[in-house]
Amino acid sequence: MRNFISNLFKHNKKTSSSQCPVFSQDKTTTRVDEEKGAKQILDKKQNRRSFLKGMTATAGAGASLMAVGASNLIDKDAKEKAALKWEEFFKGNYRVMTEDEKKATVKRLEELSRINNNQNVSISADAPLEGVLFGYAFNISKCQGYGDCIEACIEENNLDRKSNMQYIKMFEMDHGKLNVESGDAAYFHQVPKDDKFYIGTQCMHCENPPCVPVCPTGATWKEKDGIVVVDYDWCIGCRYCEAACPYWARRFNWAEPEVPKEKENKNQHYLGNRKKMKGVMEKCTFCVQRTRKGQEPACVEACPTGARVFGNILDPNSEIRYIIENKKVFRLKEELGTEPKFWYYMD
């Protein structure tokens, strides 16, 4: 149904080919229709912007009235906070923001963090790098199921400690089967265990992500470097994407997430590990705050066995590229046509 409709309305939509999609350059460049779509939205946004301008002006008038009447009663931070929150509430979808708008919202969020938590965080709005398409490989032979990756992910990405949110799932497998459905994700004993092996899952950052088109507000999308992201501030919390993901990679904030102040990772990205709020969706972003600066994701860095490999699959000299070209790799649920950029292999 989805493909049928996409084909109806999008002439340039890529058709899924039997070829491995990641090595064809054209997939990574901006699709023509995407550009057109953004333009249309930008045109529309003029309306929205002028609408919002009006709203902000009204708010400004209200705020200044309050300021005249009660300037001594309301302290400066509270006033600033109210103004920032108001502007944040009426901002647009991140994917159609201009560079200036992105900078402005990031600044507001940093300021709000200072006022709310007395915490100086640095939120980046780094764009995808040119000529980069991220991919991930997982060596089943090496993984021993220690779970250091899970811990590192929680700390790096400021995941809710109260509900013990985890992006990575680790399955303990019996020999003779390779489907994770038969694995046990609740194992709790000393590892490695004889006669068992381990498979980790997380967001596969599909080239053809089923979670993206279902979003009614376009709050989740695939970036040019292949990372599937969520604009937390734009998400309305309908959880359709969570139902649509075949890899169970999305997590919802059922309550206000809690991260102890001293544990908060202050190096943040707007689309990555900044603090989330209740009622919005989040997911693995390949540690966008790290990887767009040339670092590896936290899970890769934390893995004591070297089972995790991350890199730019467009770079012919990268390790990830070597693995895909020389190892016998497979992906989960390939029959669904999602084209995950997350490969499994064995030595």
């Binding site: 998400c235 169970w248 309550a255």
Partner: protein
């Protein structure tokens, strides 16, 4: 015209406030449930959806179950509209307003259930085309927003126009409302098909990802919806001097029967596919019908639903029973309950169990969810009561514009 319309609205409002004691008791009870629901909803707003039984495994629950069922109820109005306006069936003409009232009530409940299910209802404006980012035509949910609101507008406009004219003592102009009636007929099929596609379009959930889902939604809706309307007619007959023609009842009963039969055939075909050659994708069906290991929370639900469904369908199929109100009305009640279970506990919930990675986490609705759901049902019935009473009062000529006042 505008003054007239305001007068019409105020007359309608005044009429809705007056009534017999029983009416006030009924509306008071509904109001009580609405207030209780609002109280529990406020808890959900404060603490988040964590107060529900939902989680990352079963991420839709009682709210979306009810939503799915009620879309069917709303669509069922077409089963009165179609014979009344297209085939110019006089019998149906008298009760078509009831169908439209049911549609409006059901749609308002749908919108309320979706809102109750949202993590950030205050950000719902992000959906508005122009100022937000409406992901249409990609998202089936965007389609659903479109068709549900469109259907609501149609079902508000047509009866309002007709009643407004009648209230003024004029004859409604067919040229004005008939095009919208035609549109609403197609639209009715649209709302339920789109809602079915919302599920059927997800390859991640094999239990939903089947082509029969849409047609089955329609069949069950055209059984359950008219069953509700038939019961409503019984209530109207009991509490007013409106004569419900025996012809209408038998025609409606026939519609219900045929739809229920088709629904059962489709159910049988689904069961065959899942259990004759079970694959990895049949596991949700196994969980639903028989339980897997110690996980069997839905087993009593589905067997209750199937048993009730078969009892009602068989009873309705036998001509002697169908024409006897002593069997007809209970069968309708049974069928309605069977289909409500079938759409929620029998469809939405098992789609999530096990998770796509094979983990079994079961779902139980919490008190908050039950209370909010009851509150929304009370709200829908409240609206329905007002609309149906008003419709009859104007159609029967009790409520007319005061000629002297103009």
């Amino acid at each position: 015209m505008v003054r007239n319309f305001i007068h019409f609205c105020s007359d309608s409002f005044k009429y809705s406030l007056s009534g017999k004691n029983l009416y006030h008791v009924w509306m008071g009870t509904l109001t009580f449930f609405m207030i209780v629901g609002a109280f529990f909803y406020s808890k959900q707003v404060t603490h988040g959806l964590v107060v529900t039984g939902m989680n990352d495994y079963v991420s839709w629950g009682l709210y979306i179950s009810n939503f799915t069922f009620l879309v069917g109820l709303a669509a069922a109005a077409v089963m009165l509209v179609l014979p009344a306006y297209i085939f110019s069936d006089k019998d149906f003409h008298n009760i078509v307003l009831i169908g439209e009232g049911v549609a409006v009530g059901a749609l308002l409940m749908c919108l309320a259930f979706v809102t109750a299910d949202m993590g950030g209802p205050e950000r719902a404006w992000h959906l508005l085309p122009g100022i937000g980012y409406f992901n249409w035509p990609e998202s089936m949910l965007a389609w659903d927003v479109l068709v549900l609101n469109g259907y609501l507008a149609l079902n508000l406009f047509v009866p309002m126009y007709i009643l407004f004219q009648r209230w003024q003592g004029k004859t409604p102009n067919k040229k004005v409302y008939l095009p919208f009636v035609f549109l609403s007929i197609f639209w009715a099929f649209g709302i339920h098909l789109v809602t079915a596609f919302l599920y059927a379009g997800l390859p991640a959930r094999p239990f939903w990802n089947n082509a029969l889902l849409g047609p089955r939604f329609l069949a069950s809706a055209f059984a359950g919806g008219p069953a509700f309307i038939l019961l409503l007619l019984g209530v109207v007959k009991k509490f007013s001097n409106f004569k419900v023609d025996a012809q209408i009842k038998s025609k409606l009963a026939l519609i219900i029967t045929v739809a229920a039969q088709i629904n059962l055939i489709m159910l049988g075909s689904e069961i065959f596919k899942e259990f004759y050659t079970p694959t990895e994708h049949s596991i949700s069906a196994f969980y639903l019908f028989f339980g897997v290991g110690e996980h069997n929370a839905l087993v009593p639900w589905i067997w209750t639903s199937i048993t009730l469904n078969i009892i009602a369908t068989v009873t309705l199929t036998i001509h002697k029973f169908r024409s006897n109100p002593k069997f007809l009305y209970p069968s309708c009640v049974i069928l309605f309950i069977a289909i409500w279970i079938d759409k929620g506990m029998g469809l939405v919930i098992p789609g999530f169990i096990p998770s796509p990675l094979g983990e079994f986490v079961e779902y139980q609705p919490t008190l908050v969810e039950v209370a909010v759901s009851l509150g929304i049902w009370a709200f829908g019935l409240f609206v329905l009561s007002v609309l149906v009473r008003l419709g009859f009062a104007i159609e029967q000529g009790y409520l007319r514009k005061n000629q002297n006042s103009n």
